[in-house]
């Protein structure tokens, strides 16, 4: 009981009863599945997956804005050859057809890396060192060319707002291993929110218990964690309050909310201790700071974010989502310069995370995901930019259960269409859940007359070709 953060059991029972009433009106056909959808209670205790998991936790590096596949992951010599030529029929800028420009080759050199010989751009020297550790998918497909809708699609499975994010689904399904820390952490960039703010880690219509707890990799990562006043006085104050609470509960033993609230104070007190340790980067040795480059004027902030991500993952936090500020990959103009800058800010830390996880033996059961909501057009936007592009783009995964040194899928000669083994977002979601031991068809949450799934009603298939 002491682990329970949240127990709206009465409400839940009411809903179950509502379902029973529904059962009467539906003539009994849906009762079984609907009741199954309502868990006994909402809590964060560790849950058994549907089948043995390959990964026990996730670190999601969300690269919003739309990283350019042709400039980072997907070499296109043909595109370079036809640089400046008008694209043929069928190649359009889907954001605004009038803005369809000429083919624009990447200014960056691609070379082969690792034993696998994965071709990567010169912008990613750090990742290149880990070519043999990752699976690069070059055939992602999104359904939308606007940031918001595509972000909702990436994070929540549909292009409509208000749904629970991937992390919410995962902690709803699996709970967490450390009751002293939040199950789902969203590490924000100190400079501010990404586009769409809190919705990136919202629990949507699930109870807020499942929302990402926002942390910042600077200052106080969690609000109000530092005891107010001297520690002894604060703990005496808490003790008095809890005594009052227990006395109050004595004549109200049927009210589980009250007990849950007492437990929440206990967790908060534990978090004051445990989280202070978990969140304190000063406790890392200098070598680690050097590895992540936390002092680097350009990549230092992201380095601190990822170091914090590793500290949380290490302590059993189930889902860590790292967010960038604004929409850095959105290179509508000065594509070359923009890519250089954002790659410099992010590549080193991402590589450091892989190195670090590998050294600690954590990469075997930690799934690292790096990707954005869509890619960019192989055609120029204006004089030197690239626009949003949904038909073909790249992302990579590493660790728990995915192949190492693997390139999956391909786009056409320009990087426009995913032509070989296209991976739809629903496939990607189903695969992530699969790696965690969850069946996307069985992980359902009853909401508003439906048993909802992360993959919604879309046909989704596990991308078996990337499974180790």
């Amino acid at each position: 009981m002491s682990h329970v953060l949240h127990t709206p059991i009465r409400r839940l029972l009411t809903r179950r009863d509502a379902l029973r009433n529904l059962h009467v009106s539906l003539g009994g056909m849906a009762l079984g599945s609907l009741l199954q959808a309502a868990p006994a209670r909402f809590d964060m205790l560790p849950k058994q997956p549907h089948f043995p998991a390959r990964a026990r936790r996730v670190i999601l590096l969300f690269q919003n804005g739309g990283p350019s596949q042709m400039d980072l992951f997907d070499p296109k010599p043909e595109l370079r050859k036809r640089h400046g030529q008008a694209p043929g029929d069928g190649f359009i800028n889907t954001v605004d057809i009038k803005k369809t420009g000429t083919w624009m080759g990447s200014p960056f050199q691609f070379t082969r890396h690792g034993q696998c010989g994965m071709e990567l751009s010169e912008l990613l020297p750090g990742l290149a060192r880990h070519a043999d550790d990752i699976t690069l998918i070059r055939s992602m497909v999104s359904e939308h060319s606007n940031h918001e809708q595509a972000i909702w699609y990436f994070n929540t499975g549909l292009t409509t707002p208000g749904r629970p994010s991937m992390g919410s689904w995962v902690v709803y399904g699996l709970g967490t291993e450390n009751q002293n820390l939040p199950a789902y952490a969203a590490i924000l960039h100190p400079k501010g929110m990404p586009i769409d703010g809190t919705r990136n880690y919202s629990s949507g219509w699930m109870p807020p218990l499942y929302q990402g707890l926002a942390m910042r990799a600077e200052g106080n990562p969690v609000l109000n964690l530092k005891p107010a006043g001297p520690a002894e006085a604060a703990s005496a104050r808490l003790e008095l309050m809890q005594e009052m609470n227990r006395e109050h509960l004595r004549t109200r033993t049927d009210q589980l909310d009250l007990e849950a609230r007492i437990a929440s104070y206990e967790l908060a007190a534990r978090m004051q201790m445990a989280a202070t340790d978990a969140l304190d980067l000063a406790r890392e040795p200098k070598a680690m700071h050097d590895l992540y480059g936390t002092g680097d004027p350009e990549s230092g902030i992201h380095g601190r974010q990822l170091l914090l991500a590793r500290r949380l993952a290490e302590r059993g936090v189930r889902f860590v989502q790292v967010l960038l500020h604004s929409q850095p990959w959105d290179t509508h103009s000065k594509n070359e310069q923009g890519n250089r800058e954002i790659a410099r800010r992010t590549d080193g830390p991402a590589a450091a995370l892989l190195t670090d996880l590998k050294q600690r033996g954590m990469l075997d059961d930690t799934l690292v995901i790096w990707g954005g909501e869509f890619g960019r057009t192989p055609m120029a936007e204006g004089k030197d930019g690239r626009d949003h592009h949904k038909f073909g783009f790249s992302l990579w995964l590493a660790g728990g259960g995915v192949k190492r040194g693997c390139v999956y899928g391909a786009t056409d000669e320009f990087g426009y269409h995913s032509t070989v083994q296209p991976v739809k977002m629903a496939d990607f979601h189903a695969t992530v859940l699969h790696l965690l031991g969850l069946d996307h068809e069985r992980l359902t949450y009853h909401h508003d007359t439906r048993d909802e799934k992360l993959t919604d009603v879309r046909p989704a298939k596990i991308v078996r070709g990337i499974l180790a």
Binding site: G219, A234, T449
Partner: protein, 808 residues
């Protein structure tokens, strides 16, 4: 479908495209014929809703003979004026359309469509919520002595059927605390508790209730419930800009005033849906106060996320523009009709008798005012200036040269920035701070221009504006069913209307006659009139249920936004109908409705658990006790402010701005009326206030018809360590120390303020020990300070206690 067209073209010499059933004929029939000729009980067994059913015909045989209008019963009956019975006869153009349609072979998009569009059967309509409520007879009960209002007869009757009883009346102090929070969102002052406890007259409680209902705090509390359902926010909610709406608050104030003045609910709805059409604002030069109020009311339909920003419009992002229309419909229908109509945007509803066509019929009601395509007005231009034309002109004349000056100043600043950047090693990457650091005169020059700019801005005349909804033109483009909900795939045209399953209302939806020169279509007024007719199956039920949930913790229908077949069944169906009927009979008075509920013995009973009750009805659906509840976010915050003595009861006006502190906490700006009630705090969707957010204030994605209550460590940390709470605890302590002499009296004072009760002797002992201990822990502090610190800790513990945030 293609073959149909070919046939049509082959036999037709018309230059205009031939009429097509779904697009041209059905909308006409829907407006004129389907009230009688649809579904299982269709008159003459003729269902006119598909080509197939017309061909199958009714008692008079096939309705038409393809290619031969003059031998077709359908055309004959319409032309002769036999149909529609009672008239009016179809216009010549309409008759011509039907004639041509038959002549060219009666083409249809889905010629074989069977019962097709009309899934609505008599059985569907029989669902209790779609039948107008009848006023049930009052039941007879055994425990007659417990009955205080008719509500109790229904509650007791249901309990007695199960062999259960009601709890006795709650402890008086607990009861006053409960009803004070319920009606005003605030705790009772210690003086109010004393007055109530000392008043031994029979009507002491009624007197207390009347005082609460008359308090301006009442409107603030119940407006909050309403604003949840209406999806109120102070920002547009799109992308990271999430621009603040400068004048949305006038709608918030309208709602507060409406509750405080007990505006009849039917009028309240009519004003919010069609205030512009009722007020005929276009007729006035200086808007009279009552017209202003009606325009403010239409803010109800302006709450949805709105992307009509000037910089977005040229991009023609259909998804952004359409979303406003989609969300507004969801807000309208979920809050007022308790239906999940949003599920039928892409396909017929899976669980409800609501068709996709129904969805777009309601959309058509709104589509004359919210336009997602064509020339779209940016959101900030959709307002009226609340000043006479002459004054507007004066303002314009005054502002024009000032705006020119301001522009020149801004240009100057930009030019200067470029000039200095050119000299900086980082060139145009140099930030403002870097420029200031590098060039000593840069800052001073920029600031001089900024000061001048400010001065210029101050001279502008800014007239008050109202963010209203109005019809954009009187002949809006047709509304189409969107195939799969996709704005780029329009299907057949739909006329404005209401869900077919609700044609059970005594009066149909019908467009009122619109006066010459009126700047409106009358569609929303027609909808509002249909909605507020006395025998409407849902309007009164949905509202009495909402008010009930506000007092009893859950609705008679637990799913406040879903009265459909997939919603929860009512726990007390007859009580719901009796309340609905009484509500209408009493002139839709919301205050009378409150009184009916809070005066009841069902409401006044204690929250104590009983074994028989827990065993037979653990969820307390039958109301054998009062359901214990946690305070809502705003009440938690307002109660803390009240305890500190710093609650600022100044009403109305612009929202209190928020700041993001260095810690990342979003809180009210310090010196900007931070003590005002939570309803006046800025609701910016992308930057929710940390404290309210932690206690489940809704994020206003669309709207919130029922809040969730969670218990989380984030809340605990805010109450243990948060700056807001620790600050208020110090004020609370000061109040206690100044308000009484001696620890005993001070402890009593503190308990009465925080918990509306006296401390028990054991509690006094415990608190005394605590104070001593804290003082010893603060031994380093000056002596005078030690007591203050100890008391602040005690006060903070009281405000963090379960008893503080839960109601018995």
């Amino acid at each position: 479908m293609r073959s149909c067209w070919l046939v049509a073209i082959a036999v037709s010499s018309w230059a205009a495209p031939p009429p097509q059933f779904e697009k041209d004929i059905l909308p006409l029939f829907e407006a004129k014929c389907v009230k009688c000729h649809a579904g299982e009980a269709a008159q003459g067994s003729l269902d006119v809703r598909t080509r197939a059913t017309l061909l199958k015909g009714g008692k008079s045989g096939a309705a038409f003979l393809s290619g031969e209008p003059d031998r077709s019963v359908l055309y004959f009956r319409l032309r002769s004026g036999q149909m529609p019975p009672g008239g009016p006869k179809l216009a010549d153009a309409e008759l011509d359309l039907v004639r041509r349609w038959i002549e060219v072979g009666a083409p249809a998009e889905s010629p074989e469509a069977k019962p097709a569009l009309g899934h609505i059967t008599e059985k569907d309509r029989k669902h209790w919520a779609f039948q107008p409520p009848a006023r049930p007879a009052l039941p007879v009960v055994k425990a007659r002595t417990q009955v205080r209002t008719p509500v109790d007869l229904f509650v007791l009757a249901a309990l007695e059927r199960k062999g259960l009883a009601m709890n006795p009346e709650a402890d008086r102090a607990a009861l006053l605390r409960r009803v004070s929070f319920d009606l005003t969102g605030l705790p009772p002052a210690p003086e109010a508790v004393d007055a109530f406890l000392n008043d031994r007259s029979a009507d002491a409680y009624e007197h207390a209730v009347d005082l609460l209902l008359a308090s301006p705090r009442y409107g603030e509390r119940w407006a909050r419930h309403w604003l949840d359902a209406a999806g109120y926010a102070d920002s547009e909610g799109v992308l990271d800009a999430d621009v603040v709406r400068p004048n949305a608050w006038r709608y918030r104030d309208y709602v507060i005033r409406a509750f405080n003045s007990d505006k009849p609910y039917d009028q309240f709805l009519r004003e919010q849906i069609a205030g512009d059409e009722i007020g005929e604002y276009w007729k006035h030069d200086r808007l009279p106060r009552d017209v202003v109020e009606k325009l403010e009311a239409t803010g109800f339909l302006r709450t949805a996320v709105d992307a009509t920003r000037e910089d977005f419009l040229p991009k023609d992002f259909a998804e952004y523009q359409w979303r406003t229309l989609f969300d507004t419909e969801q807000i309208l229908v979920s809050s007022l009709l308790g239906l999940t109509i949003q599920c039928s945007r892409c396909h017929d509803h899976k669980y409800e008798p609501i068709t996709q066509r129904d969805y777009y019929a309601v959309q058509a009601v709104l589509a004359s005012a919210i336009r997602p395509t064509g020339p779209v007005l940016p959101t900030y231009k959709r307002l009226v200036v609340d000043a006479p034309k002459a004054e507007q002109q004066r303002a314009e004349e005054n502002n024009k040269p000032l705006d020119a000056v301001a522009k020149a100043l801004r240009d100057l600043q930009n030019a200067r920035r470029q000039q200095f950047r050119a000299m900086h090693p980082k060139k145009d990457q140099a930030t403002e701070e870097e420029l200031r650091a590098a060039f000593s005169d840069y800052g001073a020059k920029m600031e001089a221009a900024t000061a001048e700019l400010k001065e210029t801005e101050a001279k502008r005349i800014v007239l008050p504006t109202i963010r209203m909804l109005n019809d954009i033109d009187t002949a809006p483009p047709p509304t189409h069913v969107l195939l799969r909900g996709d704005p780029l795939s329009p299907g057949s045209a739909v006329s404005p209307g209401v869900p077919e399953v609700l044609w059970t209302a005594p009066e149909p939806y019908s467009a009122p006659a619109i006066a010459e020169g009126a700047k409106t279509t009358g569609r929303r007024l027609a909808f509002a009139n249909w909605l507020t007719q006395p025998g409407h199956p849902l309007t009164a039920r949905v509202m009495v249920n909402r008010v009930w949930a506000g007092h009893f913790g859950s609705g008679i229908v637990a799913t406040l936004d879903n009265f459909g077949k997939s919603g929860a069944a009512p726990t007390h169906p007859e009580l719901l109908d009796w309340l609905a009927s009484e509500f209408v009979r009493e002139g839709w008075s919301v205050k009378k409705l409150h009184k009916l509920m809070v005066m009841s013995a069902a409401y006044r009973q204690s929250a104590a658990a009983r074994a028989d009750g827990l065993e037979m009805d653990a969820d307390n659906k039958l109301r054998w006790r009062m359901t214990p509840r946690r305070l809502e976010a705003e009440s938690v915050r307002d109660a803390i402010l009240t305890a500190s003595g710093e609650l600022d009861i100044h009403m109305f006006g612009e929202p209190v701005k928020t700041v993001t502190k260095p810690s990342g906490e979003v809180a009210p700006e310090k010196d900007d009326a931070a003590g005002r009630r939570s309803i006046y705090q800025l609701v910016r969707r992308s930057v929710p206030q940390s404290f309210l957010n932690a206690f489940d204030a809704p994020p206003m994605e669309i709207n919130c018809t029922r809040r969730v209550t969670t218990t989380s460590a984030t809340q605990a940390l805010a109450l243990m360590n948060g700056e807001f709470v620790t600050g208020k605890a110090r004020q609370f302590a000061r109040r206690v120390l100044n308000g009484a002499e001696g620890d005993g009296a001070r402890l009593r004072h503190a308990f009465r303020i925080a918990l509306a009760r006296e401390p028990k002797p054991a509690e006094i002992d415990r608190m005394m020990t605590f104070l001593k201990k804290q003082e010893s822990l603060y031994a380093d502090a000056p002596e005078a300070e030690r007591q203050r610190l100890a008391y602040a800790d005690l006060c903070q513990a009281l405000m963090g206690a379960n008893e503080f945030v839960y109601l018995d």
